[in-house]
């Protein structure tokens, strides 16, 4: 393997990793604020992808409009799911398990609803942008570069929201201490709704960017969900910055691992890495050990 090919793979790893980061950060946000493990997170990705497909391909809406509309639609879907299911379970005994179980049910339900409505064939979206860039000996399709740029913008926007806005402060306060947040006047339930919506939107952004490369079908969500889980374990469950770093890290490790073995072992590498991390550092690779 020449160094150029190696470097190209690492760059591809970072690009895919930036999408893993978006998926993982959605899972992390939901877990961080309400301690709910969302097994239906992959379906945000899957349905977001279908929204893009129908808007951009079936109805020919230009992609600069189709993507925001699809992302917003997935936001609403997230809000609805939270309000109709999780909302009622959070107050009840055994919520830790019942919320996991209900999102499992939601996942199967949404997958099969998509199957009935959209069929099982793969649907793909054309590249948003054609052409290649050449940096030294490395050739990179502009589409892939676009993925990375969108990821960086999304992460920067999320960081801004979390750090600088009233909403972001409320989200962080609720995740750190729900009762104390309520005491200062933050309505936890509304924050939960919005958080679920944001997580859905992040999934839809990832779907929008990956749809031209990986086609969408009703089962597209599951592998994405599992990747998201690896990411949050690497970064420490519930940590937004951890999920970003974890996503990039996973992308690179997979890219190098695939070079050393072959692409069918990609997922095994990811899961084995996750189990190793759980064994050695259950609080995540980059986080600090909780006292």
């Amino acid at each position: 393997m020449t160094f150029a090919i190696f470097l190209e793979q690492v760059i591809n790893g970072i690009i895919i990793g930036s999408m893993y980061a978006l998926i993982g950060s959605g899972i992390a946000l939901i877990y961080g604020t309400m301690r709910v493990l969302n097994l239906a997170h992959g379906e945000f990705y899957m349905l977001g992808g279908y929204f893009i497909f129908f808007l951009a391909v079936t109805y020919g809406v230009p992609s600069w409009l189709a993507i925001p509309v699809a992302v917003f639609a997935t936001f609403i879907l997230g809000v609805l799911i939270q309000r109709l299911t999780i909302h009622y379970l959070l107050e009840k005994e055994g919520w830790l398990f019942s919320t996991i179980a209900v999102t499992l049910g939601l996942s199967i339900f949404l997958q099969n609803a998509a199957l009935l409505m959209f069929g099982e064939q793969f649907q793909s979206v054309p590249y948003y942008i054609d052409g290649m860039v050449e940096i030294g000996s490395i050739r990179l399709p502009l589409q892939r570069l676009l993925i990375f740029v969108v990821a960086v913008i999304t992460i920067a926007a999320m960081t801004f929201i979390l750090k600088k806005t009233r909403l972001g402060w409320a989200i962080r306060a609720t995740s750190q201490d729900r009762d104390a947040a309520a005491v200062v006047g933050i309505p936890a339930h509304r924050i939960y709704l919005i958080t679920f919506g944001i997580a859905g939107a992040l999934g839809a952004i990832a779907a929008a960017m990956l749809a031209p490369i990986y086609a969408i079908n009703p089962w597209s969500g599951l592998p994405i969900l599992l990747k998201g889980f690896v990411v949050v374990i690497l970064g420490g469950l519930g940590s937004f910055p951890g999920a970003i770093v974890g996503g990039l890290f996973l992308g690179v490790v997979e890219a190098i691992g695939v070079q050393l073995t072959s692409s069918e072992w990609r997922d095994v590498i990811a899961f084995a890495l996750m189990i190793a991390v759980i064994w050695w550092r259950p609080w995540g690779l980059f986080g600090k050990k909780p006292s």
Binding site: A181, A182, V183
Partner: protein
């Protein structure tokens, strides 16, 4: 006993699951008072404050605050009515800075527009807040955290301040500082209800007190009356 009570707790019963923590608890607090809720560990004194704030499952009874029943108000709307609380063990947003913690105290829409003037007022009262503004709250000492917690609770311009075990886990020197702080808060016209296990410590500060045992009010009165009561001796010494 005050003529017009600002806060009236009437026959309050609180159950966690099947476990009853408070039994027909009643108390009254007048405008401008400092009232102590006393009792040994597990007597339910913390639950009284939590129940007023809507943080404990009230089964029956009422909490009337200026004519309004608080048991029907969600916790996050309490600040809008002029009620604030310092939770047990400070409960700061530990990964946020001192400044962020304090500013969050004015999150509610009723005071959000006055954030700037409130901040000036609070920082004037506690200069340490300005000095330490960028420090992460979780890395401060217990006493400093308690100061931040009190400051945060004052940001919302409360007329009633609930303090759940304000002295818990603090060194005696710090306890005195916190007590001074509570006095100053009270001098600003803010009514204070706090709970504490140590009776002597409490009456350095409060006008009146209620003693709880096993979730029931067993004694109430002024500091002098209570300190010399046999009931206190029985509850605390088991004599």
């Amino acid at each position: 006993m005050p003529d017009t009570a600002m806060l009236q707790v009437r026959d309050l019963n609180v159950l966690y699951g099947d476990y009853q923590v408070l039994w027909d608890v009643s108390m009254e607090v007048g405008q401008g008072e400092v009232v102590a809720v006393l009792g040994p560990n597990g007597s339910g004194k913390s639950t009284v404050l939590k129940a007023i704030m809507g943080l404990a499952p009230v089964k029956s009874g009422a909490v009337m605050f200026e004519g309004k029943d608080l048991t029907k108000v969600p916790t996050h709307e309490m600040v809008g009515l002029g009620i604030s609380m310092v939770l047990e063990r400070r409960r700061l947003f530990s990964q946020m800075t001192v400044r962020e913690n304090v500013l969050l105290g004015a999150y509610h829409r009723s005071v959000n527009k006055e954030t700037k003037s409130r901040l000036e007022w609070v920082e004037n009262m506690f200069p340490i807040l300005a000095e330490r503004r960028d420090q992460v709250a979780g890395r401060m000492s217990g006493g400093e955290q308690q100061m931040v917690a009190i400051a945060r609770s004052l940001m919302s311009k409360p007329r009633l301040l609930l303090m759940d075990e304000p002295y818990l886990g603090l060194a005696p020197r710090i306890v005195k500082q916190i007590a001074d702080m509570i006095k100053r808060v009270n001098q600003e016209g803010i009514t204070v209800i706090f709970n504490e296990q140590n009776v002597q410590l409490s009456f350095g500060l409060s006008d009146r007190g209620y003693l709880l045992e096993g979730g029931r009010v067993v004694l109430s009165g002024t500091g002098d009356e209570m300190i010399h009561s046999d009931v206190i001796r029985r509850v605390y010494l088991g004599a």
